[in-house]
Symmetry: C2
Subunit: 193 residues, 2 copies
């Protein structure tokens, strides 16, 4: 069950036997049920996990409203980035939306791997670069695009998620409210006929 993690990391940089062994022994497999919390607000995010199967979302509360910040499905790395980076309690919740199996490594173990295996920093660097790249894309979408453009962006970038995620979560992810998304959808789908 840990193979997908090793494969993923190997793509960033080939891992030698010793490092592979270390990763294997440091990895914990955990399964969450739909609705379970993977992380709660106020906790320090002390792990990074690859989604083996399932789907999760991270969100935070702003004025009593729950705002989705990311969806993480198979192949994604789950972590509450700001909290992980600063090792301070963060404002994010992470919630499993489906039965979700994760391959997790503790923050402390990751740090130790960085010092014991310098080449593991290549993996960490590429992962961070990839995350940065994705976050940068999200900011481009959020700036100055209409609700309809944001919806189209979501459709083309996450075609499968539409079926798996409640629309209200997609709405807050795109920076609009539920009703606006609903109207955009009905207008958009009418157009296509």
């Amino acid at each position: 069950m840990i193979e997908p993690l090793l494969e993923r990391l190997n793509k960033f940089h080939p891992l030698n036997a010793a490092l592979t062994e270390r990763i294997s022994s440091a990895t914990n497999m955990v399964t969450y049920h739909a609705g379970d919390y993977i992380l709660k607000e106020g906790q320090v995010c002390n792990k990074a996990c690859l989604v083996i199967k399932g789907l999760a979302r991270s969100y935070y509360i702003k004025e009593d409203k729950d705002i989705t910040s990311r969806f993480m499905d198979e192949g994604f790395i789950i972590t509450s980035w700001i909290s992980y980076y600063t090792q301070q309690p963060g404002n994010e919740f992470i919630e499993a939306l489906e039965e979700t199996t994760l391959a997790c490594i503790n923050y402390a173990d990751i740090q130790k791997m960085y010092t014991d295996f310098p080449e593991f920093n290549i993996v960490g660097r590429k992962q961070a670069e990839y995350g940065f790249f994705m976050a940068e894309q999200r900011t481009q979408i959020l700036r100055k695009h209409t609700a309809e453009e944001k919806y189209k962006f979501f459709l083309s970038n996450h075609p499968t998620l539409l079926q798996r995620v409640a629309l209200k979560h997609i709405a807050t992810y795109l920076g609009m409210n539920e009703e606006t998304l609903s109207r955009v959808r009905s207008k958009f789908h009418r157009k296509k006929d």
Copy 2:
């Protein structure tokens, strides 16, 4: 003049003599005048530069309008992230807003340093993590905040930039138009009296 770069990188991870020597010889100092392009749309961003002195902004064109994506002043690393990461032509321009002096290293040289000095990946990883962290913050601000909240965020996070940057650029950076920012400002400053 290259010391600020070495200092900055040393903070991420102590550099030994050989690596310091390599970085020094790979670094080019370049100075741009206000209004000069550091990067143009359609070019591959093949370098990363520390801002020694001055100020630049990156932007892209959307429907004939110029949208600011970031401001980069002293201590910031300038790169067009999406293009740098993919090594494909990007859609970003980078423009010097003041007389700006940069310490630049080529993409190819950086990659060679990653393989020749594995510990340099620690530096690259931390830099990417930091960039990710900042980008993540930006997405939180852009989602679901009112124009006034965005302006307040800018004030508290970039207090000095307000004096150095045209308001129209701040407006597009925050995902609103010039007039809206102007109204927010007059309302906001009236309140304080």
